[in-house]
Protein backbone atom coordinates (compact mmCIF):
# COMPACT_ATOMS: atom_id res chain seq x y z
CA UNK A 1 0.00 0.00 0.00
CA UNK A 2 2.69 2.48 1.06
CA UNK A 3 4.76 1.75 -2.01
CA UNK A 4 1.75 2.20 -4.23
CA UNK A 5 1.02 5.61 -2.78
CA UNK A 6 4.65 6.59 -3.36
CA UNK A 7 4.51 5.47 -6.96
CA UNK A 8 1.27 7.30 -7.42
CA UNK A 9 2.75 10.52 -6.03
CA UNK A 10 5.84 10.16 -8.25
CA UNK A 11 3.56 9.69 -11.23
CA UNK A 12 1.32 12.58 -10.27
CA UNK A 13 4.17 15.06 -9.93
CA UNK A 14 5.67 14.61 -13.39
CA UNK A 15 5.82 18.02 -15.07
CA UNK A 16 2.97 17.52 -17.54
CA UNK A 17 0.51 16.33 -14.93
CA UNK A 18 1.83 18.62 -12.24
CA UNK A 19 1.26 21.60 -14.48
CA UNK A 20 -2.13 20.59 -15.86
CA UNK A 21 -3.46 19.68 -12.43
CA UNK A 22 -2.22 22.98 -11.01
CA UNK A 23 -4.09 24.88 -13.73
CA UNK A 24 -7.23 22.91 -12.97
CA UNK A 25 -6.81 23.43 -9.24
CA UNK A 26 -6.42 27.19 -9.57
CA UNK A 27 -9.49 27.63 -11.69
CA UNK A 28 -11.54 25.21 -9.60
CA UNK A 29 -10.62 27.08 -6.43
CA UNK A 30 -11.56 30.42 -7.95
CA UNK A 31 -14.76 29.08 -9.43
CA UNK A 32 -15.92 27.27 -6.31
CA UNK A 33 -14.60 29.93 -3.97
CA UNK A 34 -17.74 29.70 -1.86
CA UNK A 35 -16.47 26.30 -0.72
CA UNK A 36 -12.71 26.77 -0.90
CA UNK A 37 -12.73 29.98 1.11
CA UNK A 38 -14.17 28.18 4.13
CA UNK A 39 -11.98 27.93 7.20
CA UNK A 40 -12.44 24.16 7.36
CA UNK A 41 -10.79 23.83 3.93
CA UNK A 42 -7.53 25.42 4.98
CA UNK A 43 -7.51 23.49 8.25
CA UNK A 44 -8.06 20.26 6.35
CA UNK A 45 -5.32 21.15 3.86
CA UNK A 46 -2.74 21.68 6.56
CA UNK A 47 -3.88 18.62 8.49
CA UNK A 48 -3.57 16.38 5.44
CA UNK A 49 -0.31 18.04 4.43
CA UNK A 50 1.20 17.48 7.84
CA UNK A 51 0.00 13.89 7.94
CA UNK A 52 1.58 13.29 4.54
CA UNK A 53 4.89 14.70 5.73
CA UNK A 54 4.92 12.62 8.86
CA UNK A 55 4.12 9.52 6.86
CA UNK A 56 6.68 10.23 4.11
CA UNK A 57 9.45 11.32 6.48
CA UNK A 58 11.08 7.90 6.74
CA UNK A 59 11.47 7.48 3.01
CA UNK A 60 15.18 8.02 2.34
CA UNK A 61 14.73 9.84 -0.95
CA UNK A 62 11.96 12.05 0.31
CA UNK A 63 13.86 12.78 3.47
CA UNK A 64 17.04 13.68 1.62
CA UNK A 65 15.41 16.30 -0.58
CA UNK A 66 13.15 17.76 2.11
CA UNK A 67 15.75 18.15 4.82
CA UNK A 68 18.42 19.90 2.78
CA UNK A 69 18.96 23.07 4.82
CA UNK A 70 18.48 25.37 1.85
CA UNK A 71 15.18 23.70 1.01
CA UNK A 72 13.54 24.56 4.31
CA UNK A 73 12.60 28.06 3.08
CA UNK A 74 10.83 26.52 0.10
CA UNK A 75 8.58 24.60 2.45
CA UNK A 76 7.86 27.85 4.27
CA UNK A 77 7.16 29.46 0.90
CA UNK A 78 4.73 26.69 -0.01
CA UNK A 79 2.88 26.84 3.29
CA UNK A 80 2.68 30.63 3.43
CA UNK A 81 1.62 31.05 -0.18
CA UNK A 82 -1.18 28.54 0.29
CA UNK A 83 -2.27 30.14 3.52
CA UNK A 84 -2.25 33.71 2.26
CA UNK A 85 -3.97 32.81 -1.00
CA UNK A 86 -6.67 31.20 1.06
CA UNK A 87 -6.86 34.22 3.38
CA UNK A 88 -7.24 36.65 0.50
CA UNK A 89 -9.94 34.50 -1.07
CA UNK A 90 -11.69 34.16 2.26
CA UNK A 91 -11.83 37.92 2.69
CA UNK A 92 -12.69 38.52 -0.94
CA UNK A 93 -15.63 36.15 -0.70
CA UNK A 94 -16.95 37.80 2.46
CA UNK A 95 -16.55 41.24 0.89
CA UNK A 96 -18.29 40.22 -2.32
CA UNK A 97 -21.21 38.79 -0.37
CA UNK A 98 -21.43 41.96 1.71
CA UNK A 99 -21.36 44.15 -1.37
CA UNK A 100 -24.23 42.16 -2.86
CA UNK A 101 -26.27 42.82 0.26
CA UNK A 102 -25.40 46.51 0.09
CA UNK A 103 -23.16 46.40 3.14
CA UNK A 104 -19.69 48.02 3.23
CA UNK A 105 -16.67 45.74 2.84
CA UNK A 106 -14.77 44.54 5.91
CA UNK A 107 -12.15 47.17 5.22
CA UNK A 108 -14.82 49.79 4.59
CA UNK A 109 -16.35 49.14 7.96
CA UNK A 110 -13.19 49.40 10.03
CA UNK A 111 -11.51 51.89 7.70
CA UNK A 112 -13.58 54.78 8.94
CA UNK A 113 -12.28 54.37 12.45
CA UNK A 114 -8.95 55.96 13.12
CA UNK A 115 -6.75 54.70 15.91
CA UNK A 116 -3.58 56.02 17.48
CA UNK A 117 -0.33 54.73 16.05
CA UNK A 118 0.86 54.45 19.62
CA UNK A 119 -0.07 51.94 20.96
CA UNK A 120 -2.19 50.14 18.33
CA UNK A 121 0.23 49.99 15.41
CA UNK A 122 3.48 50.09 17.35
CA UNK A 123 2.48 47.04 19.36
CA UNK A 124 1.49 44.98 16.34
CA UNK A 125 4.85 45.81 14.80
CA UNK A 126 6.70 44.97 17.96
CA UNK A 127 4.96 41.62 18.42
CA UNK A 128 5.56 40.73 14.76
CA UNK A 129 9.24 41.55 15.10
CA UNK A 130 9.75 39.66 18.34
CA UNK A 131 7.99 36.53 17.12
CA UNK A 132 9.83 36.60 13.85
CA UNK A 133 13.19 37.12 15.50
CA UNK A 134 12.49 34.22 17.86
CA UNK A 135 11.65 32.02 14.90
CA UNK A 136 14.85 32.99 13.12
CA UNK A 137 17.02 32.40 16.18
CA UNK A 138 15.57 28.96 16.84
CA UNK A 139 15.93 28.08 13.19
CA UNK A 140 19.54 29.28 13.14
CA UNK A 141 20.43 27.26 16.20
CA UNK A 142 18.75 24.12 14.91
CA UNK A 143 19.92 24.16 11.32
CA UNK A 144 23.43 25.14 10.32
CA UNK A 145 24.07 27.08 7.12
CA UNK A 146 25.37 24.70 4.47
CA UNK A 147 28.90 24.79 3.17
CA UNK A 148 30.09 22.40 0.50
CA UNK A 149 33.52 21.57 -0.88
CA UNK A 150 35.71 24.53 -1.80
CA UNK A 151 35.05 25.99 -5.22
CA UNK A 152 36.60 24.08 -8.11
CA UNK A 153 36.25 25.32 -11.65
CA UNK A 154 36.99 21.90 -13.08
CA UNK A 155 34.28 19.92 -11.28
CA UNK A 156 30.73 20.74 -12.34
CA UNK A 157 28.21 19.41 -9.85
CA UNK A 158 25.21 17.64 -11.29
CA UNK A 159 22.64 19.10 -11.03
CA UNK A 160 23.92 22.69 -11.07
CA UNK A 161 21.06 24.76 -9.84
CA UNK A 162 20.65 28.52 -9.75
CA UNK A 163 19.65 29.99 -6.36
CA UNK A 164 16.15 28.81 -5.54
CA UNK A 165 14.34 32.07 -6.31
CA UNK A 166 15.52 31.85 -9.92
CA UNK A 167 14.52 28.23 -10.44
CA UNK A 168 11.34 29.32 -12.20
CA UNK A 169 13.53 30.81 -14.88
CA UNK A 170 15.79 27.78 -14.96
CA UNK A 171 12.68 25.67 -15.54
CA UNK A 172 11.88 27.82 -18.57
CA UNK A 173 15.26 26.81 -20.00
CA UNK A 174 13.70 23.43 -20.71
CA UNK A 175 11.47 25.12 -23.26
CA UNK A 176 13.37 28.24 -24.35
CA UNK A 177 16.91 29.29 -25.17
CA UNK A 178 18.77 31.42 -22.62
CA UNK A 179 18.21 34.69 -24.47
CA UNK A 180 14.48 34.24 -23.87
CA UNK A 181 14.35 32.32 -20.58
CA UNK A 182 17.22 34.18 -18.94
CA UNK A 183 17.13 37.64 -20.45
CA UNK A 184 14.02 38.65 -22.36
CA UNK A 185 11.27 36.98 -20.32
CA UNK A 186 12.64 38.19 -16.95
CA UNK A 187 12.90 41.68 -18.41
CA UNK A 188 9.30 41.45 -19.53
CA UNK A 189 8.29 40.32 -16.05
CA UNK A 190 9.85 43.45 -14.57
CA UNK A 191 8.44 45.74 -17.26
CA UNK A 192 5.09 44.00 -16.97
CA UNK A 193 4.92 44.44 -13.20
CA UNK A 194 5.79 48.12 -13.58
CA UNK A 195 3.12 48.52 -16.23
CA UNK A 196 0.29 46.96 -14.22
CA UNK A 197 -1.00 50.20 -12.64
CA UNK A 198 -1.02 51.90 -16.02
CA UNK A 199 -2.85 49.10 -17.80
CA UNK A 200 -5.47 48.19 -15.22
CA UNK A 201 -8.06 50.94 -15.60
CA UNK A 202 -10.62 49.27 -13.37
CA UNK A 203 -11.27 51.78 -10.58
CA UNK A 204 -12.90 49.17 -8.34
CA UNK A 205 -11.19 46.99 -5.78
CA UNK A 206 -8.80 49.65 -4.51
CA UNK A 207 -8.03 49.05 -0.88
CA UNK A 208 -9.99 45.90 -0.13
CA UNK A 209 -10.02 42.24 -1.09
CA UNK A 210 -12.45 41.29 -3.81
CA UNK A 211 -12.74 38.75 -6.56
CA UNK A 212 -15.91 39.62 -8.39
CA UNK A 213 -14.96 43.21 -9.08
CA UNK A 214 -11.57 42.22 -10.53
CA UNK A 215 -12.08 38.77 -11.99
CA UNK A 216 -9.48 38.99 -14.72
CA UNK A 217 -6.83 40.82 -12.66
CA UNK A 218 -6.99 38.42 -9.73
CA UNK A 219 -7.14 35.27 -11.85
CA UNK A 220 -4.25 36.53 -13.94
CA UNK A 221 -2.08 37.18 -10.92
CA UNK A 222 -2.91 33.82 -9.41
CA UNK A 223 -1.85 32.11 -12.59
CA UNK A 224 1.25 34.25 -13.05
CA UNK A 225 2.48 34.26 -9.48
CA UNK A 226 1.23 30.98 -8.08
CA UNK A 227 1.58 28.81 -11.15
CA UNK A 228 4.38 30.21 -13.26
CA UNK A 229 6.51 31.50 -10.43
CA UNK A 230 5.98 29.76 -7.09
CA UNK A 231 5.00 26.35 -8.40
CA UNK A 232 7.96 26.38 -10.80
CA UNK A 233 10.28 27.20 -7.91
CA UNK A 234 8.87 24.21 -6.04
CA UNK A 235 9.18 22.00 -9.10
CA UNK A 236 12.76 23.11 -9.65
CA UNK A 237 13.75 22.60 -6.03
CA UNK A 238 12.18 19.27 -5.20
CA UNK A 239 11.53 17.55 -8.49
CA UNK A 240 14.50 18.35 -10.71
CA UNK A 241 17.61 16.24 -10.29
CA UNK A 242 20.76 15.43 -12.25
CA UNK A 243 20.72 16.72 -15.84
CA UNK A 244 17.61 18.67 -14.85
CA UNK A 245 15.66 15.44 -15.34
CA UNK A 246 12.42 15.00 -13.49
CA UNK A 247 12.46 12.93 -10.30
CA UNK A 248 9.42 12.22 -8.17
CA UNK A 249 9.72 13.04 -4.48
CA UNK A 250 10.22 9.35 -3.65
CA UNK A 251 12.52 8.61 -6.55
CA UNK A 252 16.24 7.95 -6.23
CA UNK A 253 18.41 10.57 -7.98
CA UNK A 254 19.93 8.30 -10.59
CA UNK A 255 22.74 10.06 -12.45
CA UNK A 256 22.05 8.04 -15.57
CA UNK A 257 18.42 8.94 -16.01
CA UNK A 258 18.66 10.90 -19.23
CA UNK A 259 15.63 12.45 -20.87
CA UNK A 260 15.13 11.26 -24.45
CA UNK A 261 16.10 14.15 -26.68
CA UNK A 262 14.11 13.75 -29.86
CA UNK A 263 12.82 17.27 -30.23
CA UNK A 264 12.11 18.49 -33.73
CA UNK A 265 12.00 21.99 -35.22
CA UNK A 266 8.85 23.30 -36.79
CA UNK A 267 10.74 23.84 -40.05
CA UNK A 268 11.61 20.14 -40.14
CA UNK A 269 7.97 19.23 -39.71
CA UNK A 270 7.04 21.66 -42.45
CA UNK A 271 9.59 20.87 -45.16
CA UNK A 272 9.95 17.13 -44.61
CA UNK A 273 6.67 15.87 -43.23
CA UNK A 274 4.21 18.30 -44.76
CA UNK A 275 5.87 19.21 -48.08
CA UNK A 276 7.55 15.84 -48.50
CA UNK A 277 10.86 17.44 -49.49
CA UNK A 278 14.05 15.58 -48.84
CA UNK A 279 15.97 18.76 -48.08
CA UNK A 280 15.12 22.06 -46.41
CA UNK A 281 15.98 25.36 -48.15
CA UNK A 282 19.52 26.52 -47.45
CA UNK A 283 18.71 30.14 -46.67
CA UNK A 284 17.71 30.19 -42.98
CA UNK A 285 15.10 32.88 -43.54
CA UNK A 286 13.32 30.80 -46.17
CA UNK A 287 13.74 27.63 -44.17
CA UNK A 288 12.15 29.21 -41.10
CA UNK A 289 9.41 31.01 -43.02
CA UNK A 290 6.56 28.90 -41.59
CA UNK A 291 7.54 29.72 -38.03
CA UNK A 292 8.17 33.36 -38.84
CA UNK A 293 4.75 33.68 -40.43
CA UNK A 294 3.12 32.04 -37.41
CA UNK A 295 4.90 34.29 -34.94
CA UNK A 296 4.16 37.42 -36.96
CA UNK A 297 0.53 36.40 -37.00
CA UNK A 298 0.62 35.84 -33.27
CA UNK A 299 2.40 39.03 -32.28
CA UNK A 300 1.33 41.46 -34.99
CA UNK A 301 -1.98 40.35 -36.45
CA UNK A 302 -3.75 38.90 -33.41
CA UNK A 303 -3.70 42.14 -31.37
CA UNK A 304 -5.17 44.01 -34.33
CA UNK A 305 -7.95 41.48 -34.81
CA UNK A 306 -8.81 41.50 -31.12
CA UNK A 307 -8.53 45.26 -30.85
CA UNK A 308 -12.18 46.14 -31.34
CA UNK A 309 -13.84 43.68 -28.97
CA UNK A 310 -11.19 43.95 -26.27
CA UNK A 311 -10.92 47.71 -26.42
CA UNK A 312 -14.67 47.91 -26.03
CA UNK A 313 -14.61 45.56 -23.06
CA UNK A 314 -11.61 46.92 -21.19
CA UNK A 315 -11.29 50.57 -22.13
CA UNK A 316 -14.83 51.55 -23.14
CA UNK A 317 -13.64 51.61 -26.73
CA UNK A 318 -11.81 54.90 -26.19
CA UNK A 319 -9.00 55.33 -28.65
CA UNK A 320 -6.83 57.30 -26.28
CA UNK A 321 -6.23 54.00 -24.47
CA UNK A 322 -4.73 52.40 -27.56
CA UNK A 323 -1.18 52.49 -26.23
CA UNK A 324 -2.27 50.75 -23.03
CA UNK A 325 -4.08 48.13 -25.05
CA UNK A 326 -1.12 47.30 -27.25
CA UNK A 327 1.32 47.28 -24.37
CA UNK A 328 -0.96 44.91 -22.51
CA UNK A 329 -1.42 42.63 -25.48
CA UNK A 330 2.27 42.50 -26.19
CA UNK A 331 3.08 41.51 -22.61
CA UNK A 332 0.23 39.00 -22.47
CA UNK A 333 1.27 37.39 -25.74
CA UNK A 334 4.82 36.89 -24.54
CA UNK A 335 3.41 35.39 -21.39
CA UNK A 336 1.12 33.17 -23.44
CA UNK A 337 4.05 31.91 -25.45
CA UNK A 338 5.23 29.98 -22.39
CA UNK A 339 2.27 27.58 -22.03
CA UNK A 340 2.01 27.35 -25.82
CA UNK A 341 5.61 26.21 -26.12
CA UNK A 342 5.17 23.83 -23.19
CA UNK A 343 2.14 22.21 -24.76
CA UNK A 344 3.83 21.91 -28.14
CA UNK A 345 6.82 20.28 -26.51
CA UNK A 346 4.67 17.77 -24.67
CA UNK A 347 2.43 16.92 -27.59
CA UNK A 348 4.61 17.03 -30.73
CA UNK A 349 8.14 17.24 -29.27
CA UNK A 350 8.57 20.65 -30.83
CA UNK A 351 12.00 22.15 -30.31
CA UNK A 352 11.86 25.58 -31.95
CA UNK A 353 9.08 27.45 -33.68
CA UNK A 354 11.76 29.49 -35.37
CA UNK A 355 15.22 27.99 -35.15
CA UNK A 356 18.15 29.90 -36.61
CA UNK A 357 21.10 28.66 -34.58
CA UNK A 358 23.42 30.44 -37.03
CA UNK A 359 22.37 33.73 -35.41
CA UNK A 360 21.53 32.36 -31.97
CA UNK A 361 17.97 33.26 -32.83
CA UNK A 362 15.77 30.41 -31.62
CA UNK A 363 12.23 30.77 -30.35
Amino acid sequence: MGEQIKHFVDWLTQPTLYFSLSVLAIFAILKFRAIFSKTSVIVAFFAIGTAFFVWAWDDPNFNRIITKPDNVPILILLASVVYFSWLSLHRAYINDERTKKGLPTLEGETGKQKVFTWPDLVYVELICMVLFLALLVVWSIKIGAPIEEPAAQARTPNPSKAPWYFLGLQELLVYFDPWLAGVLLPSFIIVGLCAIPYIDMNPKGNGYYTFEERRFAVSFFWVGFLLFWVSFVILGTFLRGPNWSFFGPFEYWDLHKLPPMVNVDLSTYFWFDLMGNSKAPADPLVRELPGIVLLLGYFAVLPVILQKPLMAKLFDGERRHLVRYHLMMHLLLWFGLIPIKMLLRWTIDLKYIVGIPEWFFNI
Binding site: T110, G111, T117, W118, G144, A151, A162, G182, Y208
Partner: protein, 258 residues
Amino acid sequence: MGKLTDYVQNTQLWKSVFRHGYPDTPRNRTLAVLSNFFLHLHPVKVRRSGIQLSYTWCMGGLTFFLFLIETITGLLLMFYYRPTADLAYQDIMALREHVPIGIMRELHRWSAHMMVITVWLHMYRVFLTGSYKPPREFNWNVGVILLVLTLLLSFTGYLLPWDQLAVWAITVGTNMARATPFLGHEGPGASLISFGGLNFIHAGDDVRFGLLAGRFVGEGALLRFYVLHCVGIPLAAATLMAIHFWRVRKDGGISGPL
Protein backbone atom coordinates in the same frame (compact mmCIF):
# COMPACT_ATOMS: atom_id res chain seq x y z
CA MET B 1 9.01 52.08 42.89
CA GLY B 2 6.51 54.65 41.67
CA LYS B 3 8.54 57.34 43.33
CA LEU B 4 11.71 56.14 41.67
CA THR B 5 10.18 56.26 38.18
CA ASP B 6 8.80 59.69 38.96
CA TYR B 7 12.23 60.81 39.99
CA VAL B 8 13.94 59.35 36.94
CA GLN B 9 11.39 60.83 34.59
CA ASN B 10 11.89 64.25 36.06
CA THR B 11 15.65 64.34 35.67
CA GLN B 12 17.07 66.62 33.04
CA LEU B 13 18.73 63.61 31.43
CA TRP B 14 15.44 61.78 30.88
CA LYS B 15 13.60 64.86 29.74
CA SER B 16 16.30 65.71 27.26
CA VAL B 17 15.58 62.41 25.51
CA PHE B 18 11.83 61.97 25.91
CA ARG B 19 9.81 65.11 25.49
CA HIS B 20 6.51 63.78 26.73
CA GLY B 21 4.98 61.80 29.54
CA TYR B 22 3.91 58.18 29.34
CA PRO B 23 1.83 57.77 26.17
CA ASP B 24 -1.54 57.07 27.70
CA THR B 25 -3.29 60.33 26.86
CA PRO B 26 -4.11 61.53 23.33
CA ARG B 27 -1.64 64.36 23.70
CA ASN B 28 1.22 62.15 24.81
CA ARG B 29 0.41 59.48 22.25
CA THR B 30 0.62 62.09 19.56
CA LEU B 31 3.89 63.36 20.91
CA ALA B 32 5.28 59.84 21.23
CA VAL B 33 5.02 59.45 17.49
CA LEU B 34 5.90 62.98 16.47
CA SER B 35 8.95 63.43 18.66
CA ASN B 36 10.57 60.08 17.89
CA PHE B 37 12.73 59.94 14.80
CA PHE B 38 11.87 56.33 14.02
CA LEU B 39 8.21 56.40 14.90
CA HIS B 40 7.54 59.56 12.95
CA LEU B 41 7.70 57.44 9.84
CA HIS B 42 4.12 56.78 10.88
CA PRO B 43 1.23 59.18 10.92
CA VAL B 44 -0.18 59.93 14.37
CA LYS B 45 -3.41 58.16 13.60
CA VAL B 46 -4.06 55.34 11.18
CA ARG B 47 -7.08 53.63 9.71
CA ARG B 48 -7.98 50.61 11.73
CA SER B 49 -8.27 48.47 8.58
CA GLY B 50 -4.75 49.44 7.56
CA ILE B 51 -3.10 47.92 10.60
CA GLN B 52 -5.02 44.67 10.71
CA LEU B 53 -2.73 41.71 10.21
CA SER B 54 -5.34 40.05 8.03
CA TYR B 55 -5.17 43.05 5.71
CA THR B 56 -1.45 43.84 5.29
CA TRP B 57 -0.12 40.48 6.51
CA CYS B 58 2.62 42.70 7.98
CA MET B 59 4.76 41.66 5.03
CA GLY B 60 6.17 45.07 4.10
CA GLY B 61 7.12 45.68 7.70
CA LEU B 62 8.70 42.24 8.03
CA THR B 63 10.67 42.76 4.84
CA PHE B 64 12.09 45.94 6.30
CA PHE B 65 12.78 44.22 9.60
CA LEU B 66 14.65 41.45 7.81
CA PHE B 67 16.63 44.06 5.92
CA LEU B 68 17.70 45.50 9.28
CA ILE B 69 18.70 42.05 10.58
CA GLU B 70 20.70 41.54 7.40
CA THR B 71 22.48 44.83 7.91
CA ILE B 72 23.47 44.04 11.47
CA THR B 73 24.48 40.41 10.97
CA GLY B 74 26.16 41.31 7.69
CA LEU B 75 28.26 43.93 9.40
CA LEU B 76 29.39 41.39 11.96
CA LEU B 77 30.24 38.90 9.24
CA MET B 78 32.34 41.50 7.48
CA PHE B 79 34.69 41.55 10.46
CA TYR B 80 35.68 37.97 9.73
CA TYR B 81 35.41 37.61 6.01
CA ARG B 82 37.99 38.48 3.36
CA PRO B 83 36.82 38.38 -0.24
CA THR B 84 39.72 36.67 -1.96
CA ALA B 85 39.77 33.30 -3.63
CA ASP B 86 42.35 32.01 -1.14
CA LEU B 87 40.73 33.21 2.05
CA ALA B 88 36.99 33.40 1.51
CA TYR B 89 36.19 29.72 1.98
CA GLN B 90 38.63 29.41 4.84
CA ASP B 91 37.08 32.39 6.64
CA ILE B 92 33.62 30.92 6.32
CA MET B 93 34.84 27.62 7.78
CA ALA B 94 36.64 29.47 10.57
CA LEU B 95 33.45 31.34 11.37
CA ARG B 96 31.83 28.08 12.28
CA GLU B 97 34.75 26.83 14.33
CA HIS B 98 36.28 29.82 16.06
CA VAL B 99 33.59 32.41 16.61
CA PRO B 100 31.63 32.19 19.87
CA ILE B 101 27.83 32.03 19.62
CA GLY B 102 28.34 31.31 15.97
CA ILE B 103 24.91 31.75 14.52
CA MET B 104 25.56 34.98 12.66
CA ARG B 105 26.02 33.23 9.35
CA GLU B 106 22.87 31.20 9.94
CA LEU B 107 20.87 34.26 10.91
CA HIS B 108 22.15 36.07 7.87
CA ARG B 109 21.40 33.26 5.46
CA TRP B 110 17.96 32.28 6.75
CA SER B 111 16.88 35.89 7.05
CA ALA B 112 17.96 36.47 3.47
CA HIS B 113 15.82 33.57 2.28
CA MET B 114 12.92 34.83 4.35
CA MET B 115 13.30 38.33 2.98
CA VAL B 116 12.83 37.04 -0.55
CA ILE B 117 9.68 35.25 0.57
CA THR B 118 8.25 38.18 2.49
CA VAL B 119 8.87 40.61 -0.36
CA TRP B 120 7.02 38.29 -2.76
CA LEU B 121 4.13 37.98 -0.35
CA HIS B 122 4.10 41.73 0.18
CA MET B 123 3.78 42.27 -3.55
CA TYR B 124 1.07 39.61 -3.70
CA ARG B 125 -0.92 41.35 -0.98
CA VAL B 126 -0.49 44.78 -2.57
CA PHE B 127 -1.77 43.35 -5.83
CA LEU B 128 -4.72 41.52 -4.31
CA THR B 129 -5.92 44.61 -2.44
CA GLY B 130 -5.55 46.66 -5.61
CA SER B 131 -3.24 48.99 -3.74
CA TYR B 132 -1.24 49.79 -6.88
CA LYS B 133 -4.17 51.76 -8.24
CA PRO B 134 -4.13 55.55 -8.24
CA PRO B 135 -2.66 57.34 -6.36
CA ARG B 136 -0.14 54.58 -5.57
CA GLU B 137 1.14 53.72 -9.06
CA PHE B 138 4.51 55.30 -8.45
CA ASN B 139 5.06 53.55 -5.16
CA TRP B 140 4.25 50.22 -6.78
CA ASN B 141 7.04 50.97 -9.24
CA VAL B 142 9.47 51.83 -6.46
CA GLY B 143 8.41 48.48 -5.02
CA VAL B 144 9.20 46.62 -8.22
CA ILE B 145 12.72 48.03 -8.18
CA LEU B 146 13.04 47.06 -4.51
CA LEU B 147 11.97 43.55 -5.46
CA VAL B 148 14.71 43.35 -8.07
CA LEU B 149 17.25 44.76 -5.65
CA THR B 150 16.24 42.23 -3.00
CA LEU B 151 16.83 39.40 -5.45
CA LEU B 152 20.15 40.88 -6.52
CA LEU B 153 21.25 41.27 -2.90
CA SER B 154 20.52 37.65 -2.32
CA PHE B 155 22.16 36.60 -5.58
CA THR B 156 25.41 38.50 -4.99
CA GLY B 157 25.59 37.14 -1.45
CA TYR B 158 25.16 33.58 -2.67
CA LEU B 159 28.65 33.63 -4.17
CA LEU B 160 30.54 34.78 -1.11
CA PRO B 161 31.02 31.42 0.73
CA TRP B 162 33.08 30.41 -2.32
CA ASP B 163 32.11 26.75 -2.16
CA GLN B 164 30.88 24.51 -4.95
CA LEU B 165 27.24 25.42 -4.32
CA ALA B 166 28.03 29.13 -4.53
CA VAL B 167 30.27 29.14 -7.56
CA TRP B 168 28.08 26.90 -9.67
CA ALA B 169 24.82 28.60 -8.79
CA ILE B 170 26.34 31.91 -9.85
CA THR B 171 27.79 30.26 -12.95
CA VAL B 172 24.35 28.97 -13.95
CA GLY B 173 22.83 32.38 -13.23
CA THR B 174 25.37 34.53 -15.01
CA ASN B 175 25.60 32.20 -18.01
CA MET B 176 22.31 33.75 -19.04
CA ALA B 177 24.07 37.04 -19.66
CA ARG B 178 26.01 35.40 -22.49
CA ALA B 179 22.77 35.26 -24.42
CA THR B 180 21.77 38.91 -24.02
CA PRO B 181 20.62 40.14 -27.42
CA PHE B 182 23.37 42.22 -29.05
CA LEU B 183 25.46 42.47 -25.89
CA GLY B 184 26.28 38.84 -25.10
CA HIS B 185 28.57 36.84 -27.32
CA GLU B 186 25.99 34.08 -27.74
CA GLY B 187 23.06 36.43 -28.03
CA PRO B 188 21.03 37.04 -31.16
CA GLY B 189 22.31 40.02 -33.06
CA ALA B 190 25.74 40.07 -31.45
CA SER B 191 27.38 39.08 -34.73
CA LEU B 192 25.83 42.15 -36.36
CA ILE B 193 28.02 44.37 -34.23
CA SER B 194 31.13 43.83 -36.24
CA PHE B 195 33.35 45.81 -38.51
CA GLY B 196 35.10 44.37 -41.51
CA GLY B 197 34.72 40.81 -40.26
CA LEU B 198 35.95 41.77 -36.81
CA ASN B 199 33.47 40.91 -34.04
CA PHE B 200 33.20 43.52 -31.35
CA ILE B 201 31.21 41.31 -29.02
CA HIS B 202 33.11 38.21 -27.91
CA ALA B 203 33.62 36.21 -24.72
CA GLY B 204 36.31 38.62 -23.60
CA ASP B 205 34.25 41.80 -23.60
CA ASP B 206 30.52 41.04 -23.49
CA VAL B 207 28.13 41.85 -20.64
CA ARG B 208 28.91 38.61 -18.88
CA PHE B 209 32.57 39.48 -18.89
CA GLY B 210 31.72 42.87 -17.43
CA LEU B 211 29.62 41.27 -14.71
CA LEU B 212 32.24 38.71 -13.73
CA ALA B 213 35.42 40.63 -14.51
CA GLY B 214 36.55 37.55 -16.39
CA ARG B 215 35.48 34.68 -18.58
CA PHE B 216 34.38 32.57 -15.64
CA VAL B 217 33.43 32.98 -11.99
CA GLY B 218 36.83 33.75 -10.51
CA GLU B 219 38.53 36.12 -8.15
CA GLY B 220 37.44 39.22 -10.04
CA ALA B 221 33.81 38.15 -9.82
CA LEU B 222 34.17 37.51 -6.10
CA LEU B 223 35.40 41.03 -5.45
CA ARG B 224 32.76 42.60 -7.66
CA PHE B 225 29.96 40.65 -6.03
CA TYR B 226 31.33 41.44 -2.58
CA VAL B 227 31.39 45.18 -3.18
CA LEU B 228 27.94 45.16 -4.73
CA HIS B 229 26.59 42.97 -1.94
CA CYS B 230 28.00 44.94 0.98
CA VAL B 231 27.92 48.48 -0.31
CA GLY B 232 26.34 49.16 -3.68
CA ILE B 233 23.00 47.39 -3.54
CA PRO B 234 22.29 47.99 0.18
CA LEU B 235 22.79 51.73 -0.33
CA ALA B 236 20.47 51.75 -3.31
CA ALA B 237 17.90 49.63 -1.49
CA ALA B 238 18.01 51.76 1.65
CA THR B 239 17.51 54.92 -0.36
CA LEU B 240 14.57 53.45 -2.22
CA MET B 241 13.04 52.15 1.01
CA ALA B 242 13.15 55.66 2.42
CA ILE B 243 11.32 56.90 -0.67
CA HIS B 244 8.92 53.95 -0.47
CA PHE B 245 7.91 54.69 3.14
CA TRP B 246 7.67 58.40 2.55
CA ARG B 247 5.44 57.73 -0.42
CA VAL B 248 3.15 55.44 1.57
CA ARG B 249 2.34 58.45 3.72
CA LYS B 250 2.16 60.95 0.90
CA ASP B 251 -0.26 58.70 -0.94
CA GLY B 252 -2.66 58.83 1.96
CA GLY B 253 -1.42 56.04 4.21
CA ILE B 254 -2.09 52.35 3.81
CA SER B 255 -4.77 51.84 1.23
CA GLY B 256 -8.38 51.40 2.19
CA PRO B 257 -11.74 51.76 0.49
CA LEU B 258 -12.37 55.35 -0.51
